[in-house]
Amino acid sequence: MRKNYGPIYVGPVAFWLCAFLSVPLLITLSYSFLAKGLYGGVEPHFSLAAYRSLFNTAVLKVLLNTIIIAVLSTALMVGLALPTAYYIARSSQKNLLLMLIIIPFWTNFLIRIYAWITILGSNGLLNSFLMGVGLTDGPIQFLYNRGAIILVIVYTTIPFAIFPLYSTIEKFDFSLIEAAMDLGASKTKALWKIMIPNIRSGITTAVLFTFIPTFGNFAVPKLVGGTSSWMLGNLIERELNITRNWPLASSMSVVLTFVTMLAVLFFMRSQNKKEL
């Protein structure tokens, strides 16, 4: 029996991720149970104050807003991505069409947000157009609200829904659809009843890949959100950088991690079900 070199190969990964991922996460978890210092930082004694302050109405409202935005954007993205991915997978020019989706996606994320700011701003293109054709007298405020956040999140994140859907649809055996149609099913019905169940793993991946980044988003609401569209990510950043209530920032991070883990577990369970 030759020597098992596995641990040697894996050692660096294990060390690095423990040092720079597990330990930081554990410290964050422990900070969430400490009291806050007056000018920031933590006092080394146990306190549940951070968790108690999670239950004030302001924080719960932000949480609710985050959930609404995440659910709506995810639904929009998967809804749009499904027909798009289907069309690409069925086209004879797959690579070219994929490229069309990919190129904007790999343009810097912030530049893509900025592009929408130039369009939706009061002096932006949309308002110039509306005023030009006389649909409105004064500029309309499109930015700084929940709608703008959802729009920009969909814009920046939708490829995460298209790619996994594409790769499952591409593997799907379409002769099944034709068989169903030969048996008298309408095409829509055949697609709905046969293709959708078969690409369920692609759909769950798409949901997961769009829901998680949306739920934890903070750049988009920071740049295009307004007074009533706070998301959890913004609140964490504020507690960390401005208010300097690190225990509260930590407890919110713990909540966010928890939600993510729930989503992942849900995902793994539905994956397993498929295999049964």
Binding site: Y9, V10, W16, L17, L21, T28, R90, I101, A249, V264
Partner: protein, 259 residues
């Protein structure tokens, strides 16, 4: 074979236009001589501004390059070794390590940013390019690991067994068998890591220190504080560069796979 219907075609066209039009507008306005969105004539002055008058921007650009290259090389070495170990060996704690590598991919970036900032603060490490480097290696490792593993899984472990039976040592194995066959995966992983590092904003936002702004951070402050349409010109340089390299790297990648 049935053709896709009108509905899916319509949605596809809509999504494609939706993805491209905002960028097209940026391209057009980068040539506008006016500061506002109103067209006041063709001008290259924002490009001139970008190339000759944007010192801090280029400083941050170089920071980005330094971090991207150093962090992706380190992540590629660590990630490749890890992929080999996880793919071809079994040992205690394997499942735990595998789960751990999944974390940076799935956790929202802000969690990694916040916790690593708290960690650096706790151990008293000053924020600088070095802390950005550490954070970038951390989130890059899993991506390299998965890319290399995807490549390794295509190969039969019997090749390795055969090499052992012929008396190869572990070092021989690594250098002559494993690395060559996984090379396309390693290069893809390296390029992916460079990309993710150049692109990262959220995690860097939390761990950047004095004078260590990266290009995305600089773009962020241009959007927040910005006074100048130079950012339009910068966008065009990035869009064009991205498009060109997306096309050429696709060829590079497929030629690597054919080897």
């Amino acid at each position: 074979m049935s053709k896709p219907g009108k509905f899916s075609f319509g949605v596809f066209v809509f999504v494609t236009l939706f993805l491209h039009i905002p960028l097209a507008i940026l391209v057009i306005s980068s040539f506008n001589s006016s500061k506002s969105m109103r067209w006041e004539g063709f001008s290259l002055k924002w490009y001139h501004e970008l190339f000759y008058n944007s010192g801090p921007l280029w400083h941050s650009f170089w920071n980005s390059i330094i971090v991207a290259i150093s962090s992706s090389v380190v992540a590629t070495v660590i990630g490749t070794l890890g992929a080999i170990g996880l793919c071809w060996y079994s040992f205690r704690m394997k499942k735990a390590i595998q789960t751990l590598t999944f974390f940076p991919v799935i956790l929202p970036e802000i969690i990694i940013g916040v916790s690593i900032l708290i960690f650096f603060n706790k151990i008293g490490l000053s924020l600088s390019l070095f802390t950005i480097f550490l954070a970038h290696v951390t989130f890059n490792i899993p991506f390299v690991l998965m890319t290399v593993m995807a490549r390794l899984e295509e190969f039969d472990f019997s090749i390795v067994e055969a090499a052992y039976d012929l008396g190869a040592t572990e070092i021989d194995m690594l250098l002559r068998v494993i690395l060559p066959i996984s090379m396309p995966g390693i290069i893809a992983g390296l390029l992916l890591a460079i990309t993710l590092s150049l692109e990262d904003f959220v995690i860097t936002f939390f761990v950047a220190g004095p004078g260590s702004s990266t290009l995305p951070l600089h773009i962020f402050s241009m959007i927040r504080f910005g006074v100048s349409p130079t950012i339009n010109a910068l966008s065009v340089v990035i869009i064009v560069g991205t498009a060109l390299l997306a096309l050429s790297s696709k060829n590079l990648y497929s030629s690597l796979l054919k080897r």
